[in-house]
């Protein structure tokens, strides 16, 4: 029996309703709003032919997507480190350390992401970047010979300070969620494991490093994977602090071409495709492991 054969009449009814609704939306946009669809202009903003280099290069949408990937991967790695530290701090022996970690976490969980990001941006990363002279250092790199190595990791080096702000801000924000996942992982390790480590005289640090964390980290891989997908989607908010990610580039594209629906739908497909591929990849990795 083929798959379509299994569809119930209710499925057909729902499908019909969906098609009707899509048709209505189309009608509103096309007819009532008198919107001119210009899908043909979109591909050139994904890739364009560079006459000088004589090959196809990424144009703004693909550049934005690449930046989104860069920011997500680098912020994800940083968030993993910070989150592990935070998770450990949540179960530390010292009360002050535990309270500090708890406060950080509660603030991040109870304040809107956008607000947190602006605060981190203006109070932290702007100051840090100015203090460390990252700006002039990056400009030096951009002019130097090895620029291409750096650019493959960080994109356009002239935008490096902004990219770093984006990564820092996003990593700080995500670290709270990673921290909670890590804490739950640590607390899921049976008490007997820790007692066995303690009974041979291990220090708290060694107990965590050799006994608890290795076991906890295995358990938290699946929730961390879904958190990473959430991070890719959440990364869109760094466009608010002028990081040139996919969302920022789409805003630019829309303001220069007025192709509102085409541009945003393309961007939605790019985000959706990226996250869907990631979830397929994680699912496969997990199945391979089990």
């Amino acid at each position: 029996m083929n798959r379509l054969g299994k569809l119930h009449w209710l499925d057909w009814a729902i499908l019909a309703l969906l098609i009707l609704f899509a048709g209505y939306v189309w009608f509103r946009i096309d007819g009532a709003l008198n919107y001119k669809w210009r899908w043909e202009i979109i591909p050139q903003y994904l890739f364009r032919y560079d006459e000088e280099k004589g090959r196809w290069v990424a144009n703004i949408l693909m550049q934005g997507l690449m930046n989104t990937v860069r920011i997500s991967v680098l912020a994800g790695m940083l968030a993993l480190v910070l989150g592990t530290v935070l998770g450990l701090a949540r179960v530390a022996q010292n009360l002050a350390v535990r309270m500090l970690a708890r406060t950080y976490l509660e603030v991040l969980r109870n304040v809107p992401a956008v607000v947190v990001i602006f605060i981190f941006y203006f109070f932290l990363s702007e100051q840090l970047i100015a203090a460390f002279g990252v700006e002039s250092w990056a400009r030096g790199i951009a002019r130097g010979e090895n620029a291409w190595i750096w650019e493959s990791f960080f994109g356009d080096m002239r935008r490096f300070p902004s990219l770093i702000s984006g990564i820092l801000v996003l990593a700080l924000f995500e670290s709270a969620f990673v921290g909670e996942i890590v804490r739950a992982g640590i607390q899921s390790i049976p008490k007997g494991q820790r007692e066995a480590a303690q009974s041979i005289g291990m220090t708290w640090g060694d107990e965590m490093r050799f006994i608890v964390l290795p076991q906890a980290m295995r358990k938290v891989v699946p929730p961390l994977a879904s958190e990473f997908i959430a991070l890719v989607k959440n990364s869109a908010i760094v466009s608010l602090i002028s990081v040139h990610d996919l969302t920022y580039k789409t805003v630019e594209l829309v303001s220069s071409t007025r192709a509102i629906f085409e541009a945003w739908i393309t961007t939605a497909v790019l985000y959706g495709g990226l996250c869907f591929l990631l979830s397929l990849l994680f699912r496969r990795l997990e199945r391979g492991k089990g």
Binding site: E195, A196, Q198, S199, I200, G201, Q215
Partner: protein
Amino acid sequence: MTARPIIEIRNLGKFYDGFEALKDINLTVLSGEKVVVCGPSGSGKSTLIRCINRLEEHSSGRMIVDGIELTEETKDIRAVRREVGMVFQQFNLFPHMTVLENLTIGPMRVRKIPKAEAEARARKYLARVHIPEQADKYPAQLSGGQQQRVAIARSLCMEPRIMLFDEPTSALDPEMINEVLDVMVELAGTGMTMVVVTHEMGFARKVADRMVFMERGEIVEVAPPDVFFTAPKSERCRAFLDQILEH
């Protein structure tokens, strides 16, 4: 050789928020002595031996182990734990490490012994518990009896002066109990100081210098095994022995 006290427990009390799990415990264990602790479930046997290496913190009284009094001082606690091995009912082997790694992690991290030496030592103690061929397996690949013997070897690798056992055979299938008890009897023959919580009275008869009977957080009776098994003084102890020796 005149034996000196190695564990001194004085007027020890332990509360679990309001519940008095140990009441005025007094017990001195001499170096090389084998003490077997028994008593009904919930009588405080685990709590007592866990206070010896401070897996539980006592609420009142004093606990002096190998000359060190246990207080808040973490350095002292670790110093005591290095010298006191503990074998748990549930084995508590590290599942992400091979048998060999289980045995070498303590000596390497706590005693700071080089890897090669720690491995040689691990193999020596694996042979001592009769499973030298299992070094490269993971705990989950072993039977319960083998796992418990690995756990004993893991403690021995620290070369402790005292070994604590908390119902080491209670989680085992009956056919595996003896392989573990045999290892413990052999260990007793080496002169190790041992405090064993168990209901294996055959083992107790063979090995114990003194029997301790606990009930409701109190030590009710302390006696050498020949007296303990034939003429216990207290009624409660007699009732308990009748019950477990019935089978």
